[in-house]
């Protein structure tokens, strides 16, 4: 028993997610030691609030990358949905709730555009979403002619982004809801199973009778819906909607997902890893302010962290290869580890 459980512990400790958890904790403790206000509840709620939109995008980016795809358009879609939401509320006279629902639908539609190009025409996701990255942002700018902003939302709507409900920032509840749904989807349903199968081998999945196209379509449509949700939360947090909302968020989301241990080639990865990846970046960004370090340092450290995480992933393999090459001839085959 002890032997078995020990090896299980060992494999758990060697997990990417565990290492990342340590990183987050160390980051937190470290900043807590420097910034007197860093550890306060208020500040931690701030971190959460500021991370919700990028966190949402990272959450839905996870299944996409699991299938071996990528979606560069989510940030632009966030901007487009934000102004569509504003337009629906202000110009079409819908209540924020109704406008929100319609926006979610429009997000699904935009995700559906990606999905149909990728699945029906079998185009590479990188290129398709590179195109829609420009397209969505461009449409958003064209609709507002760049300048139009939507503000003066009712307080009942702003409650979603700026207040607390049951002790937590309101949007955290939505975020947790989405996180739980995506986690269950990826780790506890046959959908997640097929995402991984597609990521490892799209042809193999097709030959196994899995509905490859509809599964792929699902992840991109889901990304559209969640980007729309992020847009609504973003609007509520800032109290305004503008065409430049969410610029560059796609890269943050991808960074968080990859930092969280998801392989960019597909198949391997976890949702909790992504959450930790988001946390690592968010804590770093906030903590450096408290440590009075320049903002640019956050970007540099994130880049370095990403490279370090990737290198750590391949280091054991390289080490083993190097060792076996250099201890080749004298002794018989080296003992396996």
């Amino acid at each position: 028993m002890s032997e078995n459980s020990r090896s299980r512990w060992k494999s758990l400790l060697l997990r990417h997610e565990t290492a990342l958890l340590f990183v987050v904790v160390i980051e937190w403790l470290c900043f807590n030691a420097i910034g007197p206000r860093f550890g306060t509840l208020d500040n931690n709620f701030d971190i959460l609030r500021h991370t919700v939109e990028i966190g949402l995008l990272a959450l839905v980016m996870t299944p996409i990358i699991l299938t071996g795809g990528i979606d560069l358009s989510v940030g632009s879609l966030l901007g487009l949905c934000a102004i569509l939401f504003g337009k629906l509320w202000r110009d079409a006279g819908l209540s924020p709730f109704a406008a929100g629902l319609v926006t979610l639908g429009l997000g699904a539609l935009a995700g559906g555009l990606n999905a149909s190009l990728i699945t029906l025409l079998r185009l590479p996701p990188l290129i398709v979403t590179l195109g829609t990255y420009s397209l969505f942002r461009g449409v958003a700018e064209a609709i507002t002619r760049g300048a139009d902003t939507f503000t003066n939302f009712p307080a009942s709507f702003l409650f979603l982004g700026q207040e607390r409900w049951l002790g937590l920032p309101t949007q955290m509840w939505l975020f947790c809801g989405v996180a739980v749904v995506v986690w269950l989807l990826v780790h506890r349903t046959t959908f997640g199973r097929s995402f991984r199968a597609i990521g490892f081998s799209p042809e193999g999945a097709r030959y196994a009778g899995l509905p490859v196209r509809s599964r792929l379509a699902l992840v991109y449509v889901l990304a559209g819906v969640v980007a729309a949700l992020a847009a609504i939360i973003y609007t509520a947090r800032l109290g305004q909607a503008k065409a430049d909302a969410g610029t560059g968020y796609e890269l943050f989301a991808i960074t968080a997902v990859v930092l969280g241990g998801t392989s960019i080639f597909g198949g391997v990865g976890t949702v909790h890893g992504t959450l930790l990846g988001v946390a690592a970046i968010a804590v770093l960004n906030n903590g450096l302010v408290h440590a009075r370090q320049p903002r640019e340092a956050a970007g540099m450290l994130t880049g370095a962290l990403l490279l370090l995480a990737l290198s750590a992933g391949v280091a054991p393999k390289l080490w083993a290869a190097w060792r076996s090459r250099h201890h080749a001839s004298p002794s018989p085959a080296p003992k396996s580890t």
Binding site: A19, E27, P36, H50, G248, A291
Partner: protein
Amino acid sequence: MKKLFCFALTVLLLGGCGKSTLDRGSASGPGAAGTGGKVITVALLPKSKGNAYFISCKAGAEKAAKALGVDLLFDGPTDTDPAKQNEIVENWITLGVDVIAAACDNKEGISTALRKAQGKGIKVITYDADAMPDARTFFVNQATPEGIGYGLADEAARLLNGQGEVAIILATLTAANQQEWRKHIETRVAEKYPGLKIVAVRPCDDLKDKAQAEATALLGAYPNLKMIMNICSPAVPGAAEAVKQAGKVGKVKVIGLGLPSENRRYVKEGVTDSVMLWKTEDLGYLTVEAAVALVKGTLKPGDKSFKGALGEFEIKGDNILLGKPFVFNKDNIDQFNF
């Protein structure tokens, strides 16, 4: 191997942190609220960090901070990003600064955060670009949007004798102050200069190279173009270079908002006719001075003027007026070195 990874990260972070502790030096903790004997912390928020304009403001602010013996925090988004500004303000609220001085990228958006700061007893003033009036006590007004817009339009009319086609290059289509300036330029032209015609408005993403490309295209597309007006600072040298390359120096005039240092060469060569700007260092200096006075209580709402190291400034309503913008041209540009 993962252990190695953790270890390296720890070293990395601790290294960074250790340095920061030293940086803070003698200044007391930023949490020290209020006035009595504690060092005041002033937080200065630019629209974006990597921008020569705000770097120049910062230089002035640093001088003021040194003279007044206050702690200065300067932080902003690395790229213009409205959400990031809110984030930074909220960070400062938790950090417990005494006063926030903000240049607002998005009026309504950031006001949410600024009101929150006021709610926590932090004084708020704005500079460069204003927030909603209820979200701050004073606005250090370097020049009103009307002032800038009208000033540029007037200058254009003067140079062109009130006749001709004008194209505008701005930073992005979405930046609030750019749109406001543009609006005022258009209003003024419509009201006073019927002979001027604004034929195109192009964004340059706040990049000099892109501005040059846009200007090149404009020169080709509008053969009767008489002037390129640039309302963001990287666009002025960009447009000037394009005009120079196209061999249209003198035929197409270049004016705009910009720093003397970036435009000196073109102004001297006669490519750029005039560059408008206020003394950015003074703006930074005055902002910090006013902020500190507000915390100390020497500046109160309702005051009619504010006297500082740079002299006395008029207060109009809740706007502290820096004075009129300067127009730099061939004759006076060497007097300014920012």
